[in-house]
Amino acid sequence: MLNDVTFGQYYPVRSFVHNMDPRAKIIFVIAYIVAIFLADNFFGLAAVILFLLVAVLLSRVPFGRVLRSVKMILFLVIFTAVLNLFFYAGESAYEPLLQWGIVRITWESVVNTVYLAVRLFLLVLGTSLLTLTTTPVSLTDGLESLLKPLSYIKVPVHELALIMSIALRFIPILIDETNRIVSAQKARGADFDTGGIVKRAKAMIPVLIPLLVSAFRRAEELSDAMDARCYRGSKGRTKYKKLRFTWRDLVGFFYFAALITGVVLLNVYLGGRFEFLAWILN
């Protein structure tokens, strides 16, 4: 039932991307997102795609695995795309392609829709590449390190990072557990697949309650186990894995600097998406 949840699950191989500093990777993902939104024409997006392809190749994560992360948001993308396609409110320089009541499809809305969809996909693909190549632990280490300045204003950065890494660690365990409970209740005749939304929501109670109970039980046991292993907060704590920037991160830095520069240049020289549209249609 929940086997499709692969977003965020580390893919264990060794590669150039895997070996980068998590802090660098987080910064690069931010740069990548900026690039996606800066790119205002198809050449810019093509450049972003090209950069992503190279990054995926370097990461040695199979393409299919990266693409699977898109499956989760497919519905969302289609939904927004359809809305966008039919109800684009902007002025159009051309004859509408279709006009039917308030529904109107124009060249601009088609372009916008494609744009939106591609951007959303790229967004998810890029961020999932981060989680596929970075263990939850080093990801939270990276975040903790990047957010460290906040601890001077009494934000409990270490604790938050630990909570996040434990949450990430228990996701696959709880998914397994959910599947097991669903199977057990199905064996007792529970029906999760038919009926209206209220009935379906009610049908989930025999799954959610045991899951909740079990999560509490696990939390209690885990806290005992952490106590037994001398956990007492960040006080006097050392770290085994020290983050260190390497030549890989420097390469990454230039790579993303090039991406952003490229996208900006493409915008300046080739203009926005509608100018491009005009160029094609005329």
Binding site: T135, S165, D227, R237
Partner: protein, 278 residues
Amino acid sequence: MEAVRFDNVKYSYREDEDTFAVNGVTLSIEQGEFVAVLGRNGSGKSTLAKLINVLLEPTEGSVQVFGMDAADPDLTFEIRKNTGMVFQNPDNQTVASIVEDDVAFGPENIGVPREEIGRRIDFALDAVGMQAFRHATPNRLSGGQKQRIAIAGVLALLPKIMILDESTAMLDPRGRREVMEVVKKLNREQGMTVILITHFMDEALQADRAVVMHRGEVVMDGKPEEIFARSDELETYNLTLPRAAYICKKLRAAGMPVGEAFTAEELAEEICRSLQKA
């Protein structure tokens, strides 16, 4: 040297009641001993274990670990450093998503310098035979392997006592064997004091000493062979004999001159001897 000392310890989970999960236990465990703790579910075994490393504090009486009083909050940390504890569910005691990060968790907590943590990870993973899985994710390991990682996580704190609270209960026979091998080795080769809480009589047979708990009290205490020889008494505490001992008892009841046997090998030996005599 005395590793653990209980003096008339009582513990109640609810303050307002006088039902005690541990009810007046006096017990001494020497350093290097391998003690099995037996008893039905709810007999107070786990509570006893948690009193040792101060996960619980006694309602009455005193607990001492290497002479350190468990009631002294300043010593809690020092006691926990010296008493490692492995729990029942292998999934609920792993903090990190990579084996070596998880093993590092304990040493990080007590402020061990980074290079030293690396050495301790090596030591701990070698001790449980899991060095090859150093960079693996615990989720993909077998139950026995996960428990060995949990043991390694505890070993990295260099404890003198290791408590296993039904740590083999959720494992299959292969996993149980793996864990027992590791535990026995630690006891033999490093003089680790082991306190093993278990339902499996064959595991108890591998210990130097067995303690039977019933309704919060220690009711039997001695060599496992001696304990299992008192089968009628065991029955009153709702415990069963190891199967070989049960067969032995039947044979003796029929008049066969067999001595005590606790394993298949011993039983075969006894049967052979008495048949040849006949």
